[in-house]
């Protein structure tokens, strides 16, 4: 690939448009400041809970791992939430927006391949989001100072979040390409996200009730595999036993209860006396754990859905049999005269004689006095 094509033009244009001037800079600054406040707030919240449970001073060395996990899990949950709500917002407008601006045909007629347009749009939807995720990493990494979190835990969780982000953006792009109006695209996209988050939870509850009625208490609801937080809980290697065993409940804790038995990690801190065991994951990717790859399965499902979105987007961006109607408003309307110039009026500006104008008759004959002989033009009639 030559240097000229080093970067997808669609992506480059998007970055130019969005990251120009101070707006992006200010937004990022505010975002990082808010994250700092949240981290600080979580730290003091977790600390005061621990101290109220275990007494003054527990939150020092002994409570560190619990605090670390508390920060890490909550921040990851926050980042995933951000992904789920920002990725569709950017992606949903990408292709329908081009359509509304009527700039899509202009792209299609260039030498950009449809897949380049789609991937450029995908990159454009994700660029900003990726930056936000990356900017949040140092805060999650603050947990390393407190303990309870292995580097692999963070790496795995971040990989998971990024894959989900790409998949959500790709699905949104598919919806954006399939709808004509950005408003419809946005509504559908968020409906999809809400379905994945809450719909899967709702179905899981029904599944659980049915299984419980049948006496199958060990069954795990399959619908949860669609829930992005469920996979994150696994990817983050969440502890699940709650405050009374030296853990603080996080936004991910409730999903941990639903994880299959084998996927449940050992609690980070079993009790205050066993502080030596606070790092329990020697293997960051969980190899050797029986059936413990909920996060991998969820990632796979999302990757599949994302690929489907890209396929739809690609099919809809390719010039085809209907692009004319998408590229312009309704056809066959009543004839519209252009403003200020009705047909039949002489053309504006210098108007030389029509190409076929006969050179014979003068364009402007002077007055001819009566009685004079006719000018010798053409064959004089009798």
């Amino acid at each position: 690939m030559s240097a000229a094509r080093a970067m997808n033009p669609v992506l480059r244009r998007e970055l130019t448009e969005r990251w120009r001037g101070r707006r992006a800079f200010l937004l990022l600054t505010v975002y990082v400041a808010v994250l700092a406040l949240i981290t600080e707030g979580l730290y003091w919240l977790g600390r005061s809970i621990l101290e109220s449970q275990f007494g003054q001073g527990f939150a020092g060395f002994a409570g560190g791992p619990a605090l670390g996990r508390f920060l890490y899990e909550n921040l990851l949950g926050f980042v995933l939430l951000l992904v789920l709500f920002i990725a569709p917002g950017y992606a949903a407008a990408q292709i329908s927006g081009e359509r509304e601006r009527r700039s899509l045909p202009l792209l299609q007629v260039t030498l950009l391949r449809p897949i380049q347009i789609v991937l450029g749009k995908l990159g454009a939807s994700l660029a900003w989001l990726m930056l936000l995720v990356v900017a949040a990493l140092p805060f999650a990494a603050a947990a390393f100072f407190l303990g309870g979190v292995a580097v692999g835990d963070l790496a795995r969780a971040v990989l998971y979040v990024l894959v989900v982000a790409v998949a959500i953006a790709a699905m949104s792009l598919g919806i954006s390409a399939a709808t004509r109006r950005t408003a419809a695209s946005v509504v559908l996209t968020y409906a999809l996200v809400l379905t994945l988050v809450f719909g899967s939870g709702f179905v899981a509850i029904i599944e659980y009730v049915i299984d419980a009625n049948a006496g199958r208490f060990d069954e795990r609801p399959k619908a949860l595999y669609l829930n992005p937080f469920y996979g994150l809980a696994d990817a983050a290697r969440i502890g699940q036993f709650g405050v009374f065993e030296g853990q603080l409940p996080s936004v991910l804790t409730m999903f941990a209860f639903a994880l299959p038995e084998a996927a449940r990690p050992v609690p980070a801190v079993v009790d205050a006396e066993q502080v030596d065991e606070f790092v329990v994951e020697p293997d960051p990717f969980g190899a050797g754990r029986r059936g413990g790859s909920v996060w991998v399965a969820t990632m796979g499902i999302y990757a599949g859905l994302g690929a489907l979105g890209l396929v739809v987007a690609h099919a809809r961006v390719r010039p085809g049999r209907t692009v004319a109607r998408l590229g312009r408003p309704a056809r066959g309307g009543p004839p519209r005269p252009p403003p200020g110039w009705a047909p039949g009026q002489p053309p504006p500006g210098p108007a030389p004689a029509a190409p076929g104008a006969p050179p014979g008759p003068p364009a402007h004959a002077p007055g001819v006095p009566p009685g004079m002989p006719p000018p010798p033009a053409g064959s004089a009639p009798g």
Partner: protein, 332 residues
Amino acid sequence: MSAADVAAAATSGDGQPAAAPAVRVRGLLKRYGQLAAVDRLDLDVPEGSVFGLIGPNGAGKTTTMLAVVTLLVPDEGTIEVLGHDARREPRDVRAAVGYMPDFFGVYEGLTCAEYLDFFAAAYRIGPAERRRQVADLLELVDLSHRADVDVSGLSRGMQQRLGLARALVHDPRLLVLDEPASGLDPRARVDLREILRELSRQGRTILISSHILSELEEICDRVGIIEAGRMLAQGTPQEIRARSRSRLVVVARVLGGGDALRRAADVAMALGATRVSTDGGRLTCEVQGDTAEAAADLLAALVHAGVRVVEYHEERGALERLFLTVTEGIVR
């Protein structure tokens, strides 16, 4: 065909479609539901010509153009653009064709220069060449002074010129312009016409559409009359004029009031003129037969009969009337 017509055809430089066709469309058919937007249309655009596609809104001009620029896959028919089949080799066609639709796709937050640079990049032009090309094109369309102005802040005429520059970023041999003059004020139209003349001088083939004939009459070597998805006639404006019963409208302003006008009308009718009217102190009629000769004969006869002619001219926009004539038969 009179000597005058032959001369006019010769000066327009394109008597017959001798050159290899830049665009060759055969049997183009495109349906939207029940409606055939384009109904087995044939089109030949000789290389190097300026070809005007003329027809009312909904006649199928845009659909035809979309098919030519590969944005639309027709239901039937073949399209060859500069030797490439539009369906089998769309990328070759796109590389050789610049397309300007009848709307302007705005990217807010981009300057004119960035806008052109983006499209140049989309045509795989390298950064250094892009910079040069963008500067040249801004110069051509007289927007150099707006290079750093946001695209969304341009006037309609400037947007149109920028759109034309966009269609030219990859130096295409064929330009397809869909209603480029619609919505422009008179001044902007003149500017546009000048730019198109320049592009034609550079040897580019231009396919241009309009629902207003007078827009195209001056710049086109050839025109095609299209209505209800069918090509009614193609040729030089002169050829089409000759084909449509050589109808020529002349207007004579005469002194002397009603009597003189009546006398003038008698003279005109004696010479076989039709649709004679004497409204507003003017004699208006369609002269019979060969245009130049008959018009000259009529003037001579008027003067000979003692009618004091102050002004005598062929009515402008004759092509427009011609177009109406050509289309009437099909509509009803």
